[in-house]
């Protein structure tokens, strides 16, 4: 039972070891030349400290929605591809309907300029 998990243990040790190694190595080998920008707290390119009620472009929201659609689409395609042989024509038609609706939605979003930044 337990020996089955030995590879996972090895992977965990290697991962932690690698992380520790890179941090220690860069600390020892690197030559720190700090600037204001470099020593600031990193938060995905946004200022980390400030008001939380900031306005941000609505475009983020649109791109986000379209991304989620694509994402769900892909997530749906993988299991479908896996059982496609059993589904046969039925599965093909079903997926065609799904893709047509989704593709139509994308064509619409593209055309009305949801992707123009």
């Amino acid at each position: 039972m337990l020996p089955v998990y030995v590879p996972i243990l090895i992977l965990a040790v290697v991962a932690i070891g690698f992380a520790a190694f890179t941090i220690v190595a860069s600390h020892l080998l690197g030559q720190p030349r700090p600037t204001d920008a470099k020593s600031a707290v990193y938060e995905c390119g946004m200022p980390a400290i400030g008001t939380a009620r900031e306005r941000f472009p609505i475009k983020f929201y649109l791109v986000c929605m379209i991304f989620i659609l694509l994402d769900v689409d892909a997530a749906f395609l993988y299991p479908w591809a896996l059982i496609y042989p059993q589904l046969g024509w039925f599965g093909f038609v079903e997926m065609l309907v799904f893709m047509t609706l989704l593709g139509g939605g994308f064509a619409y979003a593209w055309k009305v300029g949801a992707l123009d930044w």
């Binding site: 059993q86 039925f90 939605g105 619409y108 055309k111 009305v112």
Partner: protein, 484 residues
């Protein structure tokens, strides 16, 4: 994998494809020219209606067929399909004039309306809980967006947000109820759930009752029954009037369709448990809906409370749990759908420059200035009250009859008393139209041909159901029989 019959999905598929075509037509129409949204919508919906009628009248085209145990095209489904597509068709006819006066006659609106219709069609035909839930969400999500289509109006945005937040909350209840029934029966298929509940051991019964209760909360929200009605007045008032029409007529019908299929179709063995709960809800819904409507001065808000009250009348019919109660509810949904589409439709087609006739002063003297419109509105209000020669009277007669036969005479008495109360606020509008002097100048639009056609259909159906109800009663009976 057995051969799967996809024919039950065809009407919904036609509507979905039309919605997509309208959407793309709008996107690819060059700026400055008008996309033929209404024409495409009406064509698509008429095609779907024709197909549903063909399926209903001739068994060869897939009536009774079942798609992989998830969607069925039985008489019950087809009855609702014809009703719902018909209502959407009327809403589409009423829309262009309204949106031209209020801004934003765009293809997206028609498209969302049809996507919502796809959800409604799925909701009434689903025989499996996941399909039912997905259909419910398709219907609701499109409606949340539709409520907010008058983006310049804060009331419209308020309606969209309120409907969305409370609707998502109600969906969670529904889903939880479905999960409990799934846990009990090991299947999401309604037929298997019915079997699971029927053969449940005493320890499992509380689980089933809890599931039932959560489902009542979920459906109660969608049909706007007290105490899950709080969203109704604000959403009905804030949403564009044509959308309100679709909500009051279509969503209520579709939600009652699913409500009936789940409770009468699959959970009849638990009727000892849920019928008293439903009867209590029906009683408070009728009382609070009607008393709430009494206090309203805004017509749309008054009709919203009337919609709550009517959810109570319909639930009164449901306590019978027999085929007669299902028949009464189906018949009443037709009558109620036509009336609501007509009333909201006329309000919408009178609107001009962003204003609608919403107060009693606005409709004062309408009988002298616009005799045809005032007469049509009178027919609708009479039907809502339940006065003879209107569909509403026959409908209420059968609904309360079903309750009396089930031994709930007290509930029927509350229903009748509340109908008397409702006469006050419905007929107040009629009195204002005919017995008050018009105030100020006549600032309202003249309904255009498509809107007049829709109103005419609504009047014809309302009076037709009142004078000669037999054909629809027979169809409703056949539909009810296919359910039970």
């Amino acid at each position: 994998m057995p051969a799967v019959d996809l024919r039950p999905l065809l009407p919904a598929l036609i509507v979905a494809v039309t919605a997509l075509v309208v959407l793309l037509a709008q996107a690819f129409t060059p700026k400055g020219s008008r996309s033929p949204s209404m024409g495409l919508t009406v064509t698509g919906l008429a095609g779907a209606l024709l197909l549903s009628l063909t399926m209903a009248s001739d068994g060869r085209y897939g009536r009774g067929a079942n798609t992989g145990g998830s969607v069925v095209a039985d008489d019950f489904t087809l009855f609702f399909h014809v009703l719902l597509i018909g209502l959407a068709l009327m809403a589409a006819l009423l829309s262009p004039a309204y949106y031209r006066e209020n801004g934003g006659d765009r293809g997206e609106y028609y498209s969302l309306m049809m996507f919502s219709l796809v959800g409604m069609l799925g909701l009434v035909s689903a025989t499996e809980m996941i399909s039912m839930f997905v259909a419910l969400e398709i219907m609701s999500v499109a409606l949340y967006a539709l409520c907010g289509t008058r983006r310049d109006q804060v009331e419209s945005q308020e309606a969209a947000l309120k409907y969305f937040v409370t609707g998502a909350f109600a969906s969670a209840f529904l889903l939880f109820g479905m999960a409990l029934l799934y846990g009990l029966s090991g299947s999401t298929s309604l037929a298997r759930v019915a079997r699971g509940v029927a053969t449940a051991t005493p320890e499992q019964i509380p689980l089933a009752v809890l599931g039932c209760g959560l489902l009542i909360v979920g459906f109660g929200f969608k049909v706007a029954s007290v105490p899950f009605h709080m969203w109704t007045p604000d959403v009905y008032e804030g949403a564009p009037t044509t959308v309100t029409a679709l909500m009051a007529a279509g969503v209520k019908a579709a939600s009652f369709g699913a409500f009936l299929r789940v409770f009468l179709g699959s959970l009849p063995t638990l009727r000892e448990e849920w019928v008293p709960a439903l009867a209590a809800l029906a009683a408070i819904t009728m009382v609070i809906g009607n008393l709430g409507a009494l206090a309203q001065s805004n017509l749309k808000r008054m009709l919203a409370f009337s919609s709550v009250a009517h959810a109570g009348y319909l639930m009164t019919g449901m306590v019978g749990t027999t085929e007669a109660s299902a028949q009464a509810i189906l018949f009443y949904l037709v009558a109620y759908g036509a009336v609501n589409m007509g009333t909201f439709g006329l309000i919408a087609s009178l609107s001009k420059g962003g204003r609608e006739p919403l107060s009693l002063q606005d409709v004062a003297g309408l009988g002298a200035r616009r005799p045809a419109i005032a007469a049509s509105l009178t027919v609708f209000l009479i039907s809502l009250t339940g006065i003879p020669i209107s569909g509403g009277f026959v409908g209420k007669f059968y609904l309360f009859g079903a309750a009396v036969n089930a031994g709930y005479t007290g509930l029927a008495i509350i229903g009748v008393l509340m109908s008397v109360v409702s006469a006050y606020y419905y007929l107040r509008v009629v009195v204002a139209m005919y017995m008050r002097e018009p105030e100020g100048e006549d600032v309202w639009s003249t309904p255009e041909a498509p809107g007049r056609l829709a109103a005419l259909i609504a009047v014809a159906v309302t009076l037709g159901l009142g004078i000669w109800p037999a054909p629809v009663l027979d169809l409703a009976r056949a539909a009810a029989l296919s359910l039970l």
